[in-house]
Symmetry: C2
Subunit: 101 residues, 2 copies
């Protein structure tokens, strides 16, 4: 692929990959997020998600839901499932707000 300025959507895709890679490389397996890495990622990138949850260990609970193959790690595809779900939720929320304007 020849070098070109990234489009908006390409930029979004690169950001998602960068965020995952930055956090997955801090300990152990570089290809997955451990519990600790996942917690740090959520605290830094989606602080409202944990603060809205009244459950203790919200990060661990979310991780369990995401961890489809049950290996106690979140791989990239499992992480993208979370981002996709949050994007759909955010879009629904924006729709509601704009329909009230």
């Amino acid at each position: 692929m020849s070098a070109h300025k990234l489009t908006e959507l390409e930029t979004a895709i690169c950001i998602i990959i960068d965020v995952f890679d930055k956090h997955s490389r801090t300990d152990g397996n570089n290809m997955t997020l451990s519990k600790g890495e996942m917690k740090t990622l959520l605290e830094k990138e989606l602080p409202w998600l944990l603060s809205r949850s009244k459950k203790k260990n919200a990060s661990n609970k979310l991780m369990k839901d995401l961890d489809e193959n049950g290996d106690n790690e979140v791989d990239f595809n499992e992480f993208v499932t979370l981002v996709a779900a949050l994007t759909c939720l955010a879009h629904k929320r924006f729709e509601k707000v704009s329909s009230k304007l």
Copy 2:
């Protein structure tokens, strides 16, 4: 939610929503992408995707695959499915490249 500077991941989520909304509002139903809107979005945002396909009407073919409920329109959730799949593909590609370095 109080106003705060968006994190990287929040920025990516907002970009995905903005791109969809900008294109879905150009004709007909504002909540979905028509065939024409989808083609324009792909040409502007993911030009390599269409140029790599040797099939004529690659955009229509892709749209058919995405259109889960068969209404000839791509809604936001269907669009996010495409973005998620492309993000996973891009990540796999980057992995291969970096493993060769």
